[in-house]
Structures are given as structure tokens and as C-alpha cells.
């Protein structure tokens, strides 16, 4: 077994037992990257190998000196390219930020650095996190390691595919409407969107501020808890970050789940879902009986309105968040000397891709005078109703389980020209963002040789018990150990 095949926890354990060094682990993933990255294309930037290895050596030195470090010290990882890294390109996969190097580190980047993890590179994504297939990257498409003709999902498609392809032990993504969970589902990895406010957004380049949340993408549930332990916690630089006592999520793993009550919302199993996906999820849930977990059907009637609600709230905020890319202070500027308005127009027209423009226009329209009440304000009201749906179910149930995505990974090009079909890909994930509740996707089986994700949604700040349940279920599912087989470089031409 190659070192890169290990989970972060396995690698960290080996490191602590001094069976391997951080240098070994880092060399291993760099080797893996050199083998498969040309096919997967999950990175936008891979840092200079020498520097990365030097970092690993430095951690080895500190560990050898007996310095107290986090459980994941010395473990190589990647960040989605919408998280600021000081002096290092942070592009949001957009032409408009292609040359942009932030002068500061995102909160999560700081936390991971303090923890001694090794940042290897920045992951590909849909431009400004808008999309469900990573086909909206301005640079190139990322491929799904399970079938390179298929998309890895999005928008954190790079982060998910890198973990699935063993190019990295774990990564961070961001989730505005499913952008961590849906690619996790399509790539067969674990992806968590925490409660809104659990992780600081400071340094996360905003798409829709009231929905955005950073989350880990990992090889299994334990790794997810370990990463969450590092990045969760209050940050005074983010006013929406919630001040509360820091929990130890890894401490929940292995605890008894008997007596948990789970609701299966009818609305998530009816329309739009592919039958094989539904079947795999239901089979996974069949294990609950032996765990002593009660499962009942529930109803969340406002789910129906989630998609339109989401596309009004998210685009409205995006239209404002992305207004700053105007060619004045930083980033791409179209050549235009004479006229300010023309400078704005040309810069934004040439700098943004079609999906970003579509959403900016949609959001601008929704906020315009005369339409605000009918669209934006109404969407806010629907958002409240959706939140109430969750509150009601959570009065009686500990967790909600749904499929993560209505389909398995789809073929590249299949949906890119039909935005509405593409938007439906997030239909089961956006409600958690609208309600601000935590949700996790774990792989629960294969359908047609492709991974299927099972989504577990919890009460606000109940990540601990969600992980507790997922950790137990994961053991019974038998997905663990399944790995995609990535074709050799030679086949690339035929496949693409």
C-alpha cells in the first residue's frame, strides 16, 4: 500500500509512531500528483515542490523535538482556491482574479498552518463557487476519478476529486448550496457543511455571505472530525461566527447511537431522484434497525420552494459581493483609458464567465427597485418557512437523512448548456444552507459503478452527534476501501 492511500488519521498515527515522516507522506502525495494530476486536474496551483518538502521537514524537526502539535501535524492538504493565502495566487477560478495574490491568510488557512498541516496547493472550482460540475472554472475542467468522462460535481470539484484520487489527504471546500456535499457525493468522499457560523468566513472570498460556509472534504468520517477540530471555533474577525465553547468532535466517534430518531423527508425521495440512487440510500438506511436507530418518514412541505428561494437570495448577495471586481484596485482590468463606465463594462464582460454573469444579472434584477418585494423579500419569507420546516422536524427527530444529490456523477457537457437542469443537481442540499443547519454527505454505496452520497442533516451545532452517527453507519456500509481506478495518462486523449 502506498502512503498516499492512507486516511489522514492513519497517516498521522504512523507519523506519531515514527513509522513515517511528514517528508515521506509529502513525497508520496507529490509523487501521486505527478502521476495522476494531468488526468484529474483538481489543482489550479501546486506549490513549488521544494518549498512544500521543506515545510514537511520543518514539521518533522518540530515533532522530533517533541513539540506538542495537532493530531494532523505534518499531513499534506489542499484548499479550495477561494480561500485567501498570503502572497499566493487565489483566483476563484476566474479570469478576473487570475493574477491576484492576497496580502493576508484566511482564518482557516491560519488555523491549518498553526496545526502544522502542509499546504500543497489550491484546488480547482467553479468560477466564484457558482456551479455544480466545476465546468465553470475559467481555466480547465476537473475530472471525476471514478470515471474521467464525468464531472466531479461542484463547486468544490477540485477539492473532492483530489481527495478521491489520493492526491491529497484532505481538503477544504466551501458550500453555499451544496458545493462541498454534492461533489463529495459524486466523488465518493466525506464532505461536511457545518452550521452557519461555526467556521470563520474571514478570508473566504464571498459568493453569498448568508449561505457560505467552509467545510472539510475527507476520506472518511474520522478525518472529517479531526479537520473540524482544527478549523471550527469563534473568530472575532467574522461577525457571523458564533461565540461558543469549542467542542472536540473526534470525541464523539464510537459513541453509542442507539435511541437516535431519524426522519426521512418524503419530499427528498420523490421527484427528480434517479431510482438507483434512491435504492442505495434506502439500503444504507436499512442498517439503522440493527443499530437501534428509529427511522420514520416525515414531511417538509416547503422544500418545493427551496430552489427558487435559493436562486434569489444567493444571486442577490452575489451581485453585490462580486461588484468589487471592477478593474480599479486589483485583478484583471480591460484595456480602456478614457471612459470609466466603459472600463467597468469591458472589465466585467471580459473578466467573468457566463454563469457568473447570469447570476449577477439575476441578483441585480431581484434587488432592483420595483422588484425587490416580489423577489428578494418574498424569498426571505420563504427562507423563514424552510427554516421552520427544519425546526419542526427537529422537535421530534435527532437527524434528518436524505440523498445528497438526485443523481450520480453526470457526463461532462451533459448539463452545462442547461442551467436549470444543472441547478436541480443541488436540490437536496440547498435547504441546509437556507436554514443554516449542518449537513454532511458520506458515501453509502455505488450505483452503476459510481458513488452515491447519503446526506445527514442535524440541528444547529449538532455536528458532534451527526459525526457520531455517520461514523457508526460508515462501518456497516462497506464503501470504505473502495477506490476508483484512474486510467494511465495515455488514455487521456481518448477520454476527453
Amino acid at each position: 500500500m502506498e502512503l498516499y492511500e492512507m486516511t489522514a488519521y492513519e497517516a498521522a498515527t504512523a507519523l506519531q509512531k515514527k513509522e513515517v515522516t511528514s517528508l515521506d507522506l509529502t513525497e508520496s502525495v507529490l509523487k501521486r500528483i505527478s502521476e495522476v494530476e494531468d488526468i484529474i486536474k483538481g489543482f489550479i496551483t501546486v506549490f513549488d515542490n521544494e518549498k512544500v518538502l521543506l515545510q514537511a521537514q520543518n514539521i518533522d524537526k518540530l515533532l522530533a523535538e517533541g513539540k506538542e502539535m495537532s493530531p494532523l501535524a505534518g499531513i499534506p492538504m489542499a484548499l479550495k482556491d477561494n480561500m485567501c493565502t498570503r502572497g499566493v495566487p487565489t483566483t476563484c477560478a476566474s479570469k478576473i482574479l487570475k493574477e491576484y495574490r492576497p496580502p493576508y491568510d484566511a482564518h482557516v488557512a491560519e488555523k491549518l498552518q498553526e496545526a502544522g498541516t502542509i499546504l500543497v496547493g489550491k484546488a480547482n472550482m467553479d468560477e466564484f463557487a457558482m456551479g455544480s460540475s466545476t465546468e465553470n472554472s475559467s481555466f480547465y475542467h476537473t475530472r471525476n476519478p471514478w470515471d474521467i468522462s464525468r464531472v466531479p460535481g461542484g463547486s468544490s470539484g477540485g477539492s473532492a476529486s483530489l481527495v478521491a484520487a489520493d492526491e491529497i489527504f484532505f481538503s477544504l471546500g466551501s458550500d453555499t448550496g451544496g458545493s462541498v456535499r454534492q461533489p463529495a457525493s459524486l466523488c465518493g468522499v466525506v464532505g461536511l457543511k457545518p452550521t452557519y457560523g461555526l467556521i470563520s468566513r474571514y478570508g473566504l472570498i464571498a459568493f453569498a455571505s448568508s449561505l457560505d460556509q467552509i467545510g472539510p472534504l475527507t476520506k472518511d468520517v474520522r478525518d472529517c472530525a479531526l479537520v473540524l477540530d482544527i478549523i471550527a471555533g469563534n473568530d472575532p474577525r467574522d461577525s457571523t461566527s458564533v461565540p461558543r465553547e469549542k467542542e472536540k468532535y473526534a470525541g464523539y466517534l464510537g459513541r453509542e447511537v442507539r435511541g437516535f430518531k431519524i426522519g426521512l423527508p418524503r419530499e427528498y425521495f420523490e421527484e427528480g431522484i434517479e431510482e438507483p440512487v434512491r435504492k442505495v440510500v434506502m439500503e444504507a438506511m436499512a442498517h439503522c434497525g440493527q443499530l437501534g436507530v428509529e427511522v420514520e418518514e416525515v414531511s417538509m412541505p416547503n422544500t418545493l420552494y427551496a430552489l427558487p428561494c435559493y436562486y434569489l437570495v444567493a444571486t442577490a448577495e452575489a451581485s453585490s459581493n462580486l461588484a468589487r471586481y471592477d478593474g480599479i484596485q486589483y485583478g484583471f482590468r480591460a484595456p480602456e483609458e478614457d471612459n470609466l463606465i466603459a472600463l467597468y463594462r469591458k472589465t466585467r464582460n471580459q473578466g467573468f464567465g457566463p454563469e457568473v454573469k447570469r447570476r449577477i444579472m439575476l441578483g441585480t434584477y431581484a434587488l432592483s427597485s420595483g422588484y425587490y418585494d416580489a423577489y428578494y423579500l418574498k424569498a426571505l419569507k420563504v427562507r423563514t418557512l424552510i427554516r421552520q420546516d427544519f425546526e419542526r422536524v427537529f422537535q421530534d427527530y435527532d437527524l434528518i437523512v436524505t440523498p445528497t444529490s438526485p443523481t450520480t456523477a453526470f457526463v461532462r457537457g451533459e448539463k452545462i448548456n442547461n442551467p436549470l437542469t444543472m441547478y436541480l443537481s443541488d436540490i437536496f442540499t440547498i435547504t441546509a444552507n437556507l436554514a443554516g443547519v449542518p449537513a454532511i454527505s458520506i458515501p453509502c454505496g455505488l450505483a452503476g459503478g459510481l458513488p452515491v452520497g447519503l446526506q445527514v442533516i442535524g440541528r444547529p451545532f449538532d455536528e458532534g452527534r451527526m459525526l457520531q452517527f455517520c461514523f457508526t453507519l460508515e462501518k456497516l456500509l462497506g464503501f470504505k476501501g473502495l477506490k476508483p481506478s484512474i486510467p494511465a495518462k495515455g488514455v487521456l486523449r481518448d477520454a476527453s
Binding site: 461577525s239 453585490s320 461588484a323 471592477d326
Partner: protein, 483 residues
């Protein structure tokens, strides 16, 4: 008979708050730094940065709101005002739209101790300032200085209650005084820490509907506000008298030419697409907190002015000058604690003390001449140690050196000579040397005594007690006359 028009004016004032740091980041709130040196990712609006609300800005805004008799909203929130301009790095300004911090206040316009008008304050809200564009005429290009980005502002909007350009001027003066008293702002129009736009319309006298209004911008002093409005009154009156209609538009005051010029018409107005700022929680205030801020408010200028008139018998004119700044009024009342004679203190403060301050270009709190010094000086006058003229000399010296008046008197030997034994020899000398004057006096020209007193004063370098000298001289002269 030609129609009579009534002028209707409302003001929108932007006031920079005197906080240590900016409203949403920890950059210092300072004026006059080299361009783009007082900035950080947050006030530059860099991707990924987030605002954190400065509680000190809230406190100052609340002080202003309470001083303007506003109702404080227990729930208010920030909104984004979206528009593109190079001095606005996020392309939106964090402001407050439909739920401002405070509403429904008023400011009493008082002049010469008389209430001229009560001007309603419609709203007061918090927002961040934008940067500044610097235009280079030589290069035909513009530069942006982001230093001012994120400086905390309150916008204060009046109802259309002002009825003349003079009233607008008076309103701004009084508003400035209130904000200075409460420590909300330094209100320096020349540094842009107080800025004012005006809405003005005319209507037929007696009408209660509003006319078509024009907004005027770029008036950079109180005087400019009055002049701009005066120009606009005339311009609109001419249009209306000629049977025309005033265009709803924004006009810019041109200081050099003394006119307003069209900036943009109504149809070019922005749709700011306001929506709630998702990066900041709403501002929720309870009564206790508001009460705490209220309890820390000082007595406001108008109230204090009336109280000084009532309590100390000052004239409205005197009271207005004394209350022109909180420091001066504090100084006045503190002096009275040591020396409870309001008229004397007032006369010295308004006369010599303010005169010296003006010539030094300083404020009363910037000199070492304290109320203890002033009361000490006045006591020296009362005891006859100093004459009025000497007192002025001592005042100046004490002002410059910070020494107590008594110390100055001792050091310089400036004390008034009231000792007969010291004065008599001088008087004898003067009488001997001015026999002509003495005989004039004897012949009944009593006025000559003034000349002789002057001679004594000269010989004592002004230190002789003039009353005593006069008395002694009379005694001597009468003795000559009858003896």
C-alpha cells in the same frame, strides 16, 4: 401683485465620528496621512475580508441621536447601498436604509436667547465613508486615496423645516455646537468631517404642498451653504415668476463662480438596490444601554445658555459667547467656584482672555491658564494688589508662562504700591518738580490733579495705587492751598 414665495429647505449632514479606529476595521481614524497608508484588507474591500462593527462608533452615534432628541430604535440594521465608483472599493457602501439607528428628533434654533424655530430631525443613521479621488490635470488621469474608506459617519437628515438660507446656516452652527459638546465629532468642514447637502424648493406663501426640489452638493463651508442656497432661492424664484417649472435635479455649488450648476437629472438617479448587509448582525439595543449613554451626555449648549442667563444674570449675548464651546462654559463655571462674581468673570473671559486666545490661535483647554489662575487674578484686583492695567500685564505673563498671577506679581515686583510711606516721597518730588501745575490747582483748576497722578504713576512704573495717589495728592495740594 407679484406672488410671494416661501423657501423650504431640508439638510442632509454627514458627520465623521471621533472614534479611535474606523467603523469596520482597526485602522486608526486619522486625517491627513500619506495616500493609501492608513488601510487594511477590510477597508480596502479586498476579497474575503469582513466588517466588524466598532462599538465606539455606536456609542458616539447614540450620543448624537440623544442630543438631537431622537427616538432610538431598539432594532436597527445595516444595509448595503450598491453603486460603482472608484472611491468605493467594495462597490457598495455599508449604510442603514429602512431601519436607521434613530428617528424623529429635533433641534431648537435659538438666536439671541429667543427660539427661532424647531427643526425636526427625520433620521440619523450610521455608515462608512468612501475614499477620495485625486485628479491630476497634467496627466489627465485620476488617482484614488482609500485612507478615508471606513471612517465612521452619521448622516443626519432634517425635515423640510428650514425657511431661509440664514436659518440653514444657523442650524449648522447649532448642530456643530451640539456635536462638539457631546464629543461626537470635531466638525471641521475644511477637513470634511462635517459635510452638508441641501434640498431646496419654493412654494407660494400659504401653500402647504411642497414645490419641486433641487438638491445642492459641494458646499464646503457654512458660508457656502448659505450662499449656495441664496443663489438657488433667486434662481428658482426667477424661473417661477417667469411661469416656468423648476427641474428636479442635483446641482453642484461652484464656489469660485458663486453659482450652482446642473450635475445630474432625476432620470439619471441611481437605483442603489439596498438590501440587508449579511456580514453584520442587526443592532439590538436595550433601554439600560441607551440610558447609560444618556446619563453620560453633558448639558447641551442651548440649555446651558438659558441656564447661564437665568442663574448668573448674563445677557443673551454674553451667554451665547460663553457657551460657544463646552470648554469655555466649563471654564466659566469653574472660575465661579473660586470667585463667585459672574459679571466680572464674564467681562474678563469675553474680553481679555478670549482676545489672548484668538491672538494665540488656541482654545481655552489648550492653555495652562486655569480657572484657578483667573480667579486668583481677579482676587488680586479686588484686594488692590493689582490695578486694572497691571492685571492685564500679569494676565499676559501668566498666559505665556503658566505661572500663577501671584507668582508673576512677586517675581516681577508688579504689585500695586498702596503704602503711603512709599508713595509720599514720590508725591513730594512730583509736586516740587511741577510747581506750575501746583499753582494752577491752587488757582482752582482742579483738573490738573489728573496730570499729577499720571506723573506719580510714571515714576512708579504704573504700580502706584491710583486711588490712593489721588487721595494723597489732594491732601498735599490742599495743604499747600491753605497752608
Amino acid at each position: 401683485m407679484p406672488p410671494e414665495y416661501e423657501v423650504v429647505i431640508g439638510l442632509e449632514t454627514h458627520v465623521e465620528l471621533l472614534t479611535e479606529s474606523k467603523i469596520f476595521c482597526s485602522c486608526p481614524n486619522r486625517f491627513g496621512e500619506a495616500p493609501n497608508t492608513n488601510v487594511c484588507p477590510v477597508c480596502l474591500g479586498l476579497p474575503g475580508s469582513l466588517p466588524v462593527f466598532n462599538k465606539n462608533a455606536l456609542e458616539l452615534a447614540l450620543r448624537a441621536a440623544l442630543a438631537l432628541n431622537c427616538t432610538i430604535s431598539s432594532y436597527s440594521k445595516f444595509d448595503r447601498k450598491n453603486y460603482f465608483y472608484p472611491d468605493l472599493p467594495k462597490a457598495y457602501q455599508i449604510s442603514q436604509y429602512d431601519k436607521p439607528l434613530a428617528r424623529d428628533g429635533y433641534l431648537d434654533l435659538v438666536k439671541d436667547g429667543r427660539l427661532v424655530r424647531t427643526v425636526r430631525i427625520e433620521r440619523l443613521h450610521l455608515e462608512e465613508d468612501a475614499g477620495k479621488l485625486l485628479h491630476s490635470s497634467e496627466e489627465a488621469r485620476s488617482y484614488v486615496d482609500y485612507n478615508r474608506c471606513g471612517v465612521p459617519l452619521v448622516e443626519i437628515v432634517t425635515a423640510p423645516d428650514l425657511r431661509s438660507p440664514e436659518e440653514a446656516h444657523l442650524f449648522l452652527e447649532l448642530l456643530r455646537k451640539v456635536l462638539l459638546y457631546t464629543g461626537v465629532s470635531d466638525c471641521k468642514m475644511e477637513e470634511g468631517s462635517l459635510r452638508c447637502d441641501a434640498n431646496i424648493s419654493l412654494r407660494l406663501a400659504g401653500s402647504d404642498t411642497l414645490g419641486r426640489k433641487v438638491e445642492i452638493k459641494n458646499m464646503n463651508s457654512f458660508k457656502a451653504v448659505q450662499r449656495g442656497l441664496e443663489y438657488e432661492v433667486n434662481r428658482q424664484e426667477e424661473i417661477l415668476k417667469a411661469g416656468g417649472q423648476v427641474a428636479m435635479e442635483t446641482r453642484r455649488w461652484n464656489e469660485e463662480r458663486g453659482i450652482t450648476v446642473e450635475m445630474r437629472g432625476k432620470e439619471e438617479e441611481h437605483d442603489y438596490r439596498y438590501f440587508p448587509e449579511p456580514d453584520l448582525p442587526p443592532i439590538v439595543l436595550n433601554e439600560d444601554f441607551i440610558g447609560e449613554i444618556r446619563s453620560k451626555l453633558p448639558e447641551l449648549p442651548v440649555q446651558r445658555c438659558f441656564r447661564l442667563i437665568e442663574e448668573y444674570g448674563l445677557s443673551p449675548y454674553q451667554a451665547e459667547i460663553i457657551t460657544s464651546s463646552k470648554n469655555l462654559a466649563d471654564y466659566f463655571e469653574e472660575t465661579l467656584e473660586h470667585y463667585p462674581q459672574p459679571q466680572k468673570v464674564t467681562n474678563w473671559l469675553i474680553g481679555d482672555v478670549l482676545g489672548l486666545l484668538n491672538s494665540m490661535g488656541k482654545e481655552i483647554n489648550q492653555v495652562t491658564f486655569t480657572p484657578v489662575h483667573l480667579s486668583g487674578l481677579l482676587k488680586l484686583l479686588d484686594t488692590g494688589t493689582l490695578s486694572g492695567r497691571l492685571a492685564k500685564e500679569v494676565l499676559e505673563e501668566s498666559f505665556l508662562t503658566g505661572k500663577h498671577p501671584e507668582e508673576v506679581v512677586q517675581e516681577k515686583g508688579l504689585a500695586q504700591i498702596s503704602d503711603e510711606q512709599k508713595l509720599l516721597p514720590v508725591i513730594d518730588d512730583v509736586l516740587k518738580e511741577n510747581s506750575n501745575a501746583v499753582s494752577d490747582y491752587a488757582r482752582g483748576n482742579k483738573k490738573t490733579i489728573g496730570f499729577l497722578v499720571g506723573q506719580v504713576m510714571q515714576r512708579t512704573r504704573g504700580q502706584a495705587n491710583p486711588q490712593l495717589v489721588t487721595e494723597l495728592l489732594k491732601k498735599q495740594l490742599d495743604r499747600v492751598e491753605y497752608g
